[in-house]
Symmetry: C2
Subunit: 190 residues, 2 copies
């Protein structure tokens, strides 16, 4: 049996990764979703092992020490991590698994899984932003500079990805993501 593919969906903050993933999972059932571990307390209605794996700080850092997360990060006051065993088990069963993660996290994942499929979600205004910033504008120079630097950083990051999708229309974005997942299942392994 062939191993499944690990699909890493990433992109700048606020681009709509979570919304895209949610709609994908509604429409396309032939893929597993990677459940995160977290140290934040569970909220009402959240189920351990379904929404998150809820861990104490001690448990979390024991897993960090044992290299049991393929990536982890602190967000506000809580820690979040992607358990390696669940990902590897799913791939080993021949199933695809998708991971929605920020750019920094994707960089960590790439160290363990260089053969994963990396999809970069772009804001619809990204191209426009660049064009606009390259023209003489009315924005003050400092704001322009920061935006241009961010845009450049993101652009450089894009070169490490296999696919890019401009998240202009949610339905189209999900269609493209689905196409990428299906196409990669047909890829000839070299």
């Amino acid at each position: 049996m062939n191993k499944g593919n690990l699909i890493v969906l990433s992109g700048p903050s606020g681009v709509g990764k979570g919304t895209v993933l949610k709609k994908l999972l509604q429409e396309y059932t032939d893929i597993e979703y990677s459940i995160s571990a977290t140290t934040r307390p569970s909220r009402k209605g959240e189920i351990d092992g379904k929404d998150y794996f809820f861990l104490s700080l001690e448990e979390f850092f024991q897993k960090v020490d044992n290299n049991q997360f393929i990536e982890w990060a602190k967000v506000h006051d809580n820690y979040y991590g992607t358990p390696r065993d669940y990902v590897d088990k799913t791939l080993g069963e021949g199933k695809d698994i998708i991971l929605e993660i920020d750019i920094q996290g994707a960089r960590m994942v790439r160290e363990s899984y260089p053969e994963a499929i990396y999809v970069f979600l772009l804001p619809p205004s990204f191209d426009e932003l660049e064009k606009r910033l390259n023209k003489r504008g009315t924005e003050d120079e400092k704001t322009k500079e920061i935006r241009l630097r961010n845009a450049r950083t993101e652009m450089k990051e894009l070169a490490n990805y296999d696919y890019q999708i401009i998240n202009d229309d949610l339905d189209e974005t999900v269609e493209k993501l689905k196409a990428i997942i299906i196409a990669e299942k047909c890829r000839v392994r070299k």
Copy 2:
């Protein structure tokens, strides 16, 4: 503007390439079809420049001499070729173009277009054939040997392709081919 992708659909004789292409073009209109040139006389109802480019033998071989075909071959008593100008013009306009062609033709295309997307269509019984031939069977040795050799040749050829689709169910095959075309439009150019 980005250049379009050249999609090469190939596979063993009789695998159903023509049927797959026809259904794809009915369902997916965002791609051009490469029209062949031929020396065979036009049949009733066929339109020059739509069904084929009808050429005399002299015209055909002048184009061969001028490297104006990306591939050409003799089939029965007639010559067929894929005009380079039409393919390049379409790609230059940013449109995808699909070419349905036998394995030998795909090899010729690869010389001019190594960056094209090569899709190998496999018969549903291909895996089975191999398994069956590896067991001791009732077929006479010579037939078995020829089939095994053909299967092996085809398997080797597969390594030169980007994608494989087992043509088990026509609808599924067309879905996968469409997914490949859409996914490749999202690919990050390195």
